[in-house]
């Protein structure tokens, strides 16, 4: 019997989940609720990818519940330099991920829950999903003033955003996912989502900043677990299935064949930074050297995260022109990335004339250049 691998993997998932194995023509099982045991943003995004690519959602819709340790997640077509403070992310060891759905940038931590609604492309309906969430919240706490806006946000007290939405549509399947702020760290959120980088011009999707609030601030008796439970219950009711949540491990290759490769791909520099739409950088900065202030103008075009064109305007003769040219030439084609640039410029220093003054000027200029990344 010839089995296609997608059929095989669907059967494996359903075997292990012990749902009625009535094949794909069954109309009894209308839904499935799964929850991730991992808090790794890349693994969880990989699960979304896997379900989107491999599961047949004809007769069965899926709700996926997940939470992440601190991470900033940008939309498919966004520019991380425009959206967040990358320096701060690196310092605080907060992960940066690019999801495959559109929309804006969000900050995730364990006080934020993520919900993904998987359906066929035909049954893709975001408003329905968000109304389900609001219904669940109201069932849990009837006094909560929450409603869905026409921008697919959920607002608390008509003022504060507690949920943002994004979606991905493929050939036959689609998913809509949204966040829900329960007790996220608002201080970290606002500091990481503020970009310090100036002079960037691009057509990347910009995020729309909004005032946020945690549900816990409104009602301290709430917890993330209670919210997850309430939403699962409402989903089960609407899809006429058991309120049964199946826990899955996103690193299980037998359950989800190929998942680890998907998670790996989401972590590559080429995906996270390289998928940034083309942008240009035009800025200037001051350098203080031996008591005098120098003006430096930098202009760069960055495509696929790599410097396509680079122009550095320095005061004349401050650095030997040959050396300047060498720097510009080496930067061209290089990743717009601080660690890559640091190793590049320090390696180049080895073949420069060995002059302490030259070296300190070079280091000063390069450090400032690296700050732009």
């Amino acid at each position: 019997m010839v089995l296609q691998s997608s059929l095989k993997s669907c059967l494996q998932l359903s075997c292990i989940l012990r749902t009625p194995k009535a094949g794909f023509r069954s109309t009894t099982s209308g839904g499935l609720i799964i929850q991730s045991v991992s808090d790794d943003v890349y693994q969880n995004l990989a699960v979304e990818d896997w379900i989107h690519d491999h599961m047949n959602l004809e007769n069965r819709q899926v709700l996926f519940l997940w939470r992440n340790s601190p991470a900033v997640v940008i939309g498919r077509h966004q520019n991380p330099w425009q959206e967040c403070n990358l320096r701060l992310l690196r310092q605080k060891d907060i992960k940066l991920a690019r999801r495959r759905s559109g929309g804006g940038t969000v900050y995730h931590d364990l006080g934020n829950i993520n919900l993904t609604f998987f359906t066929t492309r035909k049954k893709y309906e975001r408003m329905e999903n968000l109304k389900l969430v609001v219904k669940a919240l109201k069932a849990l706490r009837p006094q909560l003033d929450v409603h869905v806006t026409d921008r697919y946000d959920i607002l608390l007290n008509r003022q504060y955003k507690i949920s943002g939405t994004a979606a991905k549509l493929g050939r036959t399947t689609a998913y809509h996912h949204c966040t829900l702020l329960c007790k996220a760290d608002k201080l970290v959120l606002s500091s990481v989502l503020k970009s310090p980088y100036k002079g960037l011009k691009s057509n990347a999707t910009p995020s729309v900043p909004a005032s946020v609030k945690n549900l816990l601030e409104e009602d301290p008796t709430l917890t993330c677990e209670m919210l997850l439970d309430a939403i699962a219950e409402e989903y089960a009711a609407q899809h006429q299935i058991d309120h049964h949540v199946t826990f899955i491990n996103p690193t299980d290759e037998t359950l989800l064949p190929g998942i680890n490769n998907k998670a790996k791909e989401l972590q590559t520099w080429e995906w996270v930074y390289g998928k940034t739409p083309k942008f240009s950088l035009s800025t200037c900065f001051n350098m203080v050297y031996k008591g005098s202030v120098l003006d430096v103008k930098v202009a760069m075009d960055v495509k696929h995260g790599r410097i396509e064109v680079c122009n550095i305007d320095l005061p004349e003769q401050w650095l030997p022109p040959a050396l300047c040219n060498e720097l510009v030439k080496s930067l061209t084609g290089s990743k717009f990335c601080p660690s890559e640039t640091t190793t590049l410029v320090t390696t180049l220093l080895r073949v420069c004339p060995q002059d302490d003054e030259l070296h300190s000027k070079w280091n000063l200029l390069c450090e400032n250049m690296i700050m732009l990344m």
Binding site: A166, R306, I370
Partner: protein, 492 residues
């Protein structure tokens, strides 16, 4: 001959000149051969040419405008964000064509047809409209795919149908070339196991299927029986079945390897390394190697490890190697020097900034510990910890990575005994440390004992350093490490 007839009739419809032009352009695009076989009415002699001719006529298909289909939720316009193909690329049905975005939804548009992309109607960041053409695709005329056909879902099939076709919405995926190969060999695509992406059937799959059919290559093995090419075994000729059971004479099979060479430009850090190493090549290197008995040092480190740990520092062997090197450099400062470009002057560097080679994701980086001559072993260990954690996070600063005067490379952590390290300009010496091995050695009394042996391989710039200097430095360094207590006498 049927093909020629077809061509003739189509010519009648379209006009001779147009047809000739089409054949010409088709053959050059599809097969990369500028020669064309079209002189109408001329009998074709070579069967190879005939095949080419037939294929050309068949592939001169119509240009179909692939319209942007409905996104849902009443959306009428989207922004084109990324093209996955360009004009001239060939696509198969279900290949991704582009990514569009509408109001927080990112949509992957896949191709409805097999064919060649002839025109992209939008540039990146332009607005595309639902129902309007997105791309023009030149499709295979023989397919007869009507442009209006909706290919999303196929209706459910009855029980008796081939299991293969129960997978709804997945037509058998194969490129036009593969379909032709199957057609020419009378193979049903539904009977072939696809091994490509999305279970696509590749050329290799057709060839494998053929091989199994004729029993040509594979000796009967358990594996071969598990996946027979077709469950409809009654269609398989009985003769072929018998053949498969006999032990076959191996027939050379066309080795199908679909891997392609991949060329990438050298950029950024690697480009800089190319420059540095090319400069290093200009230095006349000489090597000097030795083995060091670290038995005493191993014991000393074991004693000191918990003390360092209590101060929050992980103590490896490197701090000892580095400090010993610095003590040696005090006696032989020429090894901590630099030769200028014109080889006219030697500069003896006052600071011992000892570089430690690190292997990271990017490749080889060499941060250095500054002023080792005034640091204690503990301070060196603590600084190494800092450099190592920054290095693995990709956060080393320019100051950490520049100003080195002498380098040690502990390649032994990965493996190896002796090495031939390359000097990193503008330095004049480098040492590579092999792994520590437990080996039998003779002691002073002629007894065999267990020794912890490590090999060191030095390279130095022969323009200003001679073998004797290197040997004496190495001996001094070795004596400090073999008898760590002697370091105490000379520590500053």
């Amino acid at each position: 001959m049927a093909a020629v007839t077809a061509l003739r009739s189509s010519c009648r419809a379209m006009g001779r000149l147009v047809c000739i032009h089409r054949v010409r352009s088709c053959s050059s695009v599809r097969f990369g051969k500028p020669k064309y076989v079209c002189v109408l009415g001329t009998p074709l002699q070579l069967s190879q040419q005939q095949r080419l001719f037939r294929a050309s006529a068949v592939s001169c298909g119509q240009i179909v405008q692939f319209k942007l289909s409905d996104i849902g939720e009443g959306i009428t316009e989207v922004t084109v964000k990324e093209w996955y193909i360009k004009e001239g690329d060939s696509v198969s049905q279900f290949d991704s064509i582009c990514e569009v975005q509408s109001d927080k939804a990112s949509v992957t548009i896949t191709s409805r047809y097999d064919g060649i992309i002839r025109k992209l109607h939008y540039n990146i960041d332009e607005i595309a409209y639902v129902g309007k053409p997105l791309v023009d695709i030149e499709i295979d005329a023989s397919k007869g795919v009507s442009p209006e056909e909706d290919v999303v879902e196929t209706p459910p099939m009855s029980h008796e149908e081939h299991t293969h076709q129960e997978i709804k919405g997945h037509k058998t995926l194969a490129t036009p070339a593969v379909r032709r190969l199957a057609m020419e060999n009378n193979i049903k695509l539904s009977e072939v196991v696809g091994t490509g992406k999305d279970n696509r059937i590749l050329k290799e799959d057709i060839l494998n299927y053929l091989a199994k059919q004729t029993g040509a290559i594979l000796p009967p093995s358990p594996k071969a029986e598990i996946i027979p090419p077709s469950p409809k075994s009654e269609t398989m000729p009985a003769a072929a079945k018998d053949k498969a059971r006999k032990i076959p004479i191996p027939v050379p099979r066309p080795i199908v390897f679909s891997g392609k060479d991949k060329t990438e430009p050298i950029t950024g850090f690697h480009k800089a390394m190319v420059k540095t190493m090319s400069a290093a090549l200009k230095i006349p290197h000489f090597g000097y190697c030795d083995e060091i008995d670290l038995t005493h040092l191993v014991q000393l480190r074991e004693e000191l490890k918990p003390l360092a740990q209590s101060r929050g520092v992980k103590l490896s062997f490197m701090p000892f190697f580095i400090k010993a090197a610095s003590l040696g450099l005090l006696q032989y400062p020429i090894l901590n020097a630099s030769l200028d470009e014109s080889c006219q002057n030697v500069t003896y560097k006052a600071s011992h900034n000892i570089g430690v080679a690190m292997d990271t994701e990017q490749g080889l980086i060499v941060p250095n510990v500054k002023n080792v001559q005034v640091c204690s072993v503990f301070e060196i260990a603590s600084e190494l910890n800092r450099l190592q954690s920054l290095g693995s996070a990709g956060q080393l600063g320019t100051n950490d990575l520049s100003g080195g005067t002498f380098t040690l490379s502990n390649i032994g952590t990965i493996g190896g005994t002796y090495a031939k390290p390359v000097i990193l300009p503008p330095e004049v010496a480098i040492g590579a440390l092999g792994k520590i091995q437990i080996l039998p050695r003779f002691n002073g009394k002629g007894e065999v004992f267990k020794a912890q042996i490590m090999n060191v391989s030095w390279s130095a710039d022969h323009r200003i350093i001679d073998g004797a200097t290197m040997a004496r430095f190495s001996n001094l360094w070795k004596s400090y490490l073999e008898n760590p207590a002697s370091m105490l006498l000379d520590l500053k």
